[in-house]
Symmetry: C2
Subunit: 417 residues, 2 copies
């Protein structure tokens, strides 16, 4: 008897998943129910033997063995997934927000009631990061994750590399349907943060809540920053990274300077990329299409197949982790100043007062004296001290605009036998 | 009760796997036996409670639940693995040659006797290509594989990019221990071919035997070819590729021209990389350390964990595939000629006689007339016809050396919704 599958939410991903199931005729799986509001407008003729319904309760009470939750958001997704698991069903979901916020609770229900909770589609869509991690890297002790987990931000930043400003490329992303009218979730890092929370849990065994991780927006990055970054042998990418230092989780989301010879610099357009460093195996990189109906649906169907084949992993117990802001990294700080003598001395003084060493200080020519961009890079320094130094300068009369402070990513040399 | 694990072969990989098991203290797994010839010289004090033995039969007859075969080669590896599976044990192996030649037979024994046969370490060592494929891409229909599957060849070719000749970089690879005294297996493509056979089976469902796939050596590639390739926007990498066209498997191993903007061009040194194209999810790229004791041991231990967790996939039935040499690709042909009038006309005539269109014809300056390299590129043409055209010219008095014929790899645009 094939397992009966009910899809909740027949949008792009739901329709793609149904199409793959129907076209590939996969063993052990039968699509039986499709739930959507106003389901009549969703009905398609290539799914003849499916029950189309607007009655969520009826689907949850049905004989379906697996619920595919593609409604998105928290309500009614959270309640539906919990009820399905409590009823002993398995759940496959692409809902990163739900898993980031409530994954631990839901996995514990799944463990108790004997169902599976799989969410390979929640991180980096079509790239098998979660299965790769759970099956292929299970032998290693993962110590660091770095990823480009939001395609919209990567589209914008990787195109700005060629001289455009943020607003132009945001508009282009919106024209192409990559960015929403309100792009907050993508460009301010919240979408990537949910995914980082999930990866930190699975790869580093660290349980953190999304609001403990600081997000920096890409909105303040300008074309001038790519010019300066280039002088430093770097480009700028939207990075989510996490590692464990002295028992604390160091986790950050935001635009960062990435060396041109780092794999992260190769990713362009809406591509996603995840780099994982293991104690034994060194760096492994996964890349591909992180979003879109079909790639995400591939991850959903792969999870369904794992359940049908009896090869789905059980949730493991995860330890809560303390998140620290006290990490040491190199920084790039771009000031926009009204030029006058003494500015460098003031900056250097504020930095020195916090024990921060300046690594370089440089400016490009061709800008007016009243709005002059120039850049300071620091040696690795404690984040909170740099914030203090910048705060001390924030009301200085020479600051034409607030400075932009970005981390400089330096891949640690990969340790391999 | 943890599963009892016996390691056959305590070389670099075996010792790394034992160390990971011992350091990580993984649940459900207990290392109980180590077999090696002259085992006394292998004994280590950090594995106190293990039986060290030179008696292979005794290990195969022991109560061990899982045999880790790291002897390599075919004899006695083949016989040992078969006997272990017949006895109902599971087997984890890194032996690509064994799996490429006898995997189908061994998987059928595993299916019948209820054991598992896992070989994640046989392809691209520490990169979870096989688990990524079996678990994370199970939802997709994979249509094409392209990979850099041999680190030694990639080390040599990626360094030749900077102007060195083959012999220098082979010597450097040998100095570093990446290449053997007899480098045949690596540089002539046989190692990569075994891995391609395994990937073609798992990703494309095509059962081919290694000797059906043509291997081209990297020995004939010279510094001059990198200079010409650069003029074409390409570099040269050792590529193994397979796809299915009109029901035939098109599979090739050898140095190929790779566009600079292809992910394959990014791979450097001993790195491995695998690109898989799916009908639904588009291109996914995996990269990392394909060899070395620790990365390979990570793959071995990951397979052990999958068996312990009950999440190891069962072997599937695979259909035999016909391999064709009749594929159409663009070609790069580098001639070395004793210059005289009429050569171009002769080449063009031989090509035209086989219906092959010449795409470009060019030469770099600065070479003597008696040993003049020049390059012809073709439009996509049937391989066998090009071979006929080249054969017709092979005895021409103007040929100072045999020509070098390389495929030009053109990534098909990735199809994604």
């Amino acid at each position: 008897m094939p397992l009966k599958v009910a899809i909740l939410g027949f949008g792009t991903v739901g329709a793609s998943a149904a199409r793959i199931l129907s076209e590939r005729n996969l063993p052990g799986l039968a699509l039986t129910h499709v739930y959507n509001r106003n389901v009549a407008r969703k009905r398609v003729d290539w799914l003849p033997s499916v029950i189309w319904t607007e009655d969520l309760d009826a689907v949850l009470a049905s004989e379906a063995d697996i619920i595919v939750e593609l409604i998105g958001g928290l309500n009614p997704a959270h309640d539906s997934v919990r009820r399905a698991l409590e009823a002993g069903k398995s759940v496959v979901t692409a809902n990163k927000k739900l898993i980031a916020l409530h994954g631990i609770e839901l996995e514990s229900i799944a463990r108790e009631s004997g169902g599976h909770l799989l969410y390979g589609a929640a991180v980096a869509g079509g790239i098998p990061v979660i299965p790769g991690l759970q099956h292929g890297l299970a032998g290693d002790n993962i110590t660091r994750i770095e990823g480009i987990l939001n395609g919209t931000s990567n589209f914008i930043l990787s195109r700005m590399e060629h001289g455009a400003e943020y607003a132009e490329e945001l508009a282009e992303a919106q024209r192409r349907g990559y960015a929403e009218a309100d792009p907050t979730e993508d460009v301010d890092g919240f979408d990537a943060r949910s995914k980082l929370v999930i990866l930190a849990r699975l790869a580093l065994g660290a349980n953190v809540s999304p609001d403990e991780i600081n997000c920096q927006s890409i909105r303040q990055v300008g074309a001038i920053d790519f010019a300066y970054a280039k002088d430093l042998g770097c480009t700028i990418r939207p990075v989510a990274r996490a590692d464990v230092r002295n028992g604390n989780l160091v986790a950050l989301v935001g635009p960062m300077l990435v060396p041109f010879n780092s794999p992260l610099a190769w990713s362009r357009g809406t591509e996603n990329m995840v780099l994982m460093s293991g104690q034994y195996g060194g760096d492994v990189v996964f890349s591909g299409h992180g979003a879109g109906g079909n790639p995400t649906a591939v991850a959903v169907v792969s999870d369904l197949r794992a359940i049908a084949a009896g090869t789905a992993p059980r949730a493991v117990q995860i330890a809560p982790a303390a998140v620290t802001g006290e990490f040491e990294l190199r920084h790039y700080i771009r000031f926009i100043v009204k030029d006058r003598p003494g500015i460098v001395a003031e900056i250097a003084g504020a930095m020195a007062a916090q024990g921060i060493n300046i690594d370089s200080l440089f400016q490009r020519s061709g800008f007016g004296k009243d709005k002059l961009p120039f850049v300071v890079t620091t040696e690795p320094c404690v984040n909170s001290r740099l914030k203090l130094a910048l705060a001390r300068m924030q009301n200085a009369d020479w600051q034409a605009e607030p400075p932009l402070d970005l981390q400089i990513l330096e891949p640690e040399p990969s340790v391999v036998a």
